[in-house]
């Protein structure tokens, strides 16, 4: 089976029921609809950008990168979950919020310990959901809706609805800007690189694509579906935890609503990156591109004076266009 994922060809036992998929290079000599649409979009964006005041400045590039970081880190993790065929998690914002609260509440233990506690909590909560999906084939949408309510309810119960404040300000170091860029941007880049390496260079990464492409066939072929799915969700949990930690540091306190629209923003970035929502296709680097593209479009619209509502509308239209394009492409490739 060949997998179209932008990471080279995976070697794996032949799996019955998984049809051949053309790689990007073999999909045809002519440009795909996705590539053509992306090219048009980029042309429009470039035209809008070059005519927008102060778009091409170092400060603005830094702002785009900074506003990409929080969503981008989560989206990278969500990419692995989506590639594995687990669709999406709808408990992302709630998990990030709980992690943020834990991180701030444990600041008195020291920054290192607080970070470890927060990451461990994010990984545990998310990997548990992954286990239910991976081993018992639970519907991830239903499961994560339930998990989101449970986690959000727990957070409200724990905090009484009031903000969680840190006793010390050791976390301030996470707001630092080495070489002029926020630390979260470096974490985003490292996370993307690690995720891409896992997807393209490790057995578990290749198995993720195979499982996402055809889970029953992967199971029949003896692939460790449960274990690999849990690993993907655990990585996602670590990414959500990092986002929660940076969100907490940036806002210096954590309320139940801190996660805001993180869930849908992360899903949007993954989808705009071209990852198939049904699984089996996608890459971390493309998700990074998707997150950057959304931030850049929001930035251009803001620079040109469009309202927040128009920015949200543009994001919705963009996601819809990409999802339709990817769906059409995937459908054609399976014929």
């Amino acid at each position: 089976m060949s997998t179209d994922n932008g990471r080279g060809t995976a070697t794996a036992p032949p799996v019955q029921g998984a049809g051949p998929h053309p790689s990007p290079s073999s999909a045809g000599r002519r440009p795909t609809a996705f590539a053509a649409g992306l090219a048009v979009l980029l042309l429009v964006l470039v035209a809008l950008a070059v005519t927008a005041p102060r778009f091409a400045t170092v400060d603005n590039v830094r702002a785009i990168l900074a506003s990409t970081a929080f969503v981008g880190i989560t989206a990278i993790g969500a990419t692995l979950v989506m590639i594995a065929g687990s669709v999406v998690s709808l408990a992302t914002a709630q998990t990030a919020t709980v992690v943020a609260m834990l991180f701030l509440a444990t600041q008195h233990l020291g920054l290192g310990t607080a970070t470890l506690v927060a990451v461990a909590a994010g990984v545990a909560v998310t990997a548990l959901q992954g286990a239910v999906v991976g081993y018992w084939n639970a519907n991830p949408i239903v499961l994560t809706i339930a998990a989101g309510f449970a986690i959000g309810g727990g957070a409200t119960w724990f905090s009484g609805g009031t903000p969680v404040y840190p006793r010390t300000s050791a976390f301030e170091v996470l707001n630092s800007t080495p070489l002029g860029l926020p630390l979260s941007v470096y974490v985003l880049l490292v996370t993307a690189a690690v995720a891409q390496w896992v997807l393209s260079r490790t057995t578990a990464g290749r198995q993720l694509y195979l499982i996402g492409e055809n889970r029953p066939a992967a199971t029949a072929a003896g692939l460790p579906v449960g274990r690999v799915t849990v690993l993907a969700w655990a990585f996602f949990g670590a990414c959500v935890a990092m986002t929660g930690i940076f969100l907490a540091s940036f806002n210096t306190s954590a309320t139940v609503t801190l996660g805001g629209t993180l869930t849908l923003d992360a899903i949007a970035a993954v989808l705009v990156g071209g990852t198939a929502i049904a699984g089996g296709h996608g890459s971390a680097l493309r998700t990074l591109g998707g997150a950057l593209l959304i931030s850049a479009i929001s930035d251009v619209l803001l620079l040109r004076g469009f309202s927040t509502g128009v920015q949200i509308l543009a994001k919705g239209v963009l996601v819809l266009a990409v999802v339709i394009t990817v769906h059409v492409r995937t459908t054609r490739s399976r014929r």
Partner: protein
């Protein structure tokens, strides 16, 4: 050994059991009845509290103070709080069906709540709006204990003007990150803000953006606006709540802008939280204003006692708001530190 099917059933049963146990053991803070309280004058009276949900820190503290303040009177409060505008309409309609002696509502969507308020009037159920005003079309149908949002906006403008003048600036550009613009609360704050800013035309508002009461969105917009105008292009910023102003501070610091002091960005807010008080003390936030949930909860509870006790309180009462800066921050630190 259990099979997968048995395990699933066990898990399901366990989850249901846990849910039932949680329900049974939960402390029902939503309704209170204290016949042993120091006043039984409201014994047998019922209130439907269709307020802000406890997922919102402001709402959580309001609900706590309001409930605790009325508990000794013996009044029964049904908790129907939410932060979802659609759910609020449903709960308000349910409240009407239960025919309480009073519905207390903190309106999330003024237009959507107009029809339910009319229904309450038709049903003869009195409604008390707290914090934000109702839609003007039903303003005469409700009693109200309101935050003075225009005053809060005025305070924010005063903070900006005072801060820029203290830096010796003859001119300055200001960015504004508002709460949800469709809310009357936001519109009233901007009305007061614009009125005072108009008295200092040397300071110009160059951007007014809807940040939807969202701290993360506030940070994103601030980063982009600060990049758009550059270090010399913006001298002051107004985030409508402390949790919106502090992301502006962080965005400025990450972009290399000095904040506060003799030549840094002057940042103000207009309703206080503990984090804002700490930031004022640290010199990063020039000022804020009260609109703290405890004060309005106390006044609302007092209004309810008077109304249900048979008095005839004024149809509308406005909570006195206070401006908070470094000069008087200690005076308001406790009042502002509950949310």
């Amino acid at each position: 050994m259990f099979g997968i099917g048995s395990l699933r059933h066990a898990l399901l049963t366990g989850a249901l059991g846990l849910a039932l146990l949680t329900t049974a053991c939960a402390d029902n803070t939503g309704s209170s009845s204290s016949p042993d309280g120091d006043s039984s004058s409201l014994q047998g009276k019922t209130i439907a509290l269709v307020g802000y949900g406890s997922t919102n820190p402001w709402g959580a503290y309001f609900n706590k103070v309001f409930t605790e303040r009325l508990e000794p009177t013996g009044v029964e409060i049904t908790d129907m709080t939410t932060m979802d505008p659609g759910t609020q309409v449903q709960k308000f309609n349910q409240a009407i069906a239960q025919r309480p002696d009073l519905v207390v509502v903190s309106i999330l969507d003024t237009q959507a709540m107009a029809v339910p308020i009319k229904k309450a009037r038709t049903a003869g159920i009195p409604v008390l709006a707290v914090d934000g005003p109702p839609d003007p079309s039903v303003a005469d149908d409700v009693m109200a204990v309101l935050s003075d949002n225009e005053k809060l906006g005025e305070f924010a403008a005063q903070n900006i003007i005072e801060g820029l003048e203290a830096q010796g600036r003859d001119s300055g550009k200001v960015i504004v990150l508002t709460g949800t613009k469709s809310m009357l609360v936001t519109q009233h704050r901007m009305k007061g803000f614009d009125r005072v800013m108009a008295t200092a035309p040397q300071y110009q508002v160059v951007e007014e953006r809807d940040a939807n009461w969202d701290p993360k969105l506030s940070g994103d917009i601030a980063q982009q606006l600060l990049a758009k105008y550059g270090r010399d292009g913006v001298q002051a910023a107004y985030g409508m709540a402390d949790y919106m102003a502090l992301p502006i501070v962080q965005a400025a610091k990450q972009a290399g802008f000095p904040v506060g002091g003799k030549n840094g960005l002057v940042v103000t807010s207009s309703n206080c939280f503990k984090a804002g008080i700490d930031a004022i003390k640290a010199g990063e936030l020039y000022g804020t204003a009260t609109e703290d949930p405890g004060t309005i909860a106390e006044q609302s509870a007092d209004y309810v006692q008077r109304f249900l006790g048979g008095e005839n309180p004024p149809r509308t009462e406005t909570v006195k708001e206070e401006r908070v800066t470094a000069a008087n921050v200690d005076q308001f630190a406790e009042q502002c530190s509950h949310a």
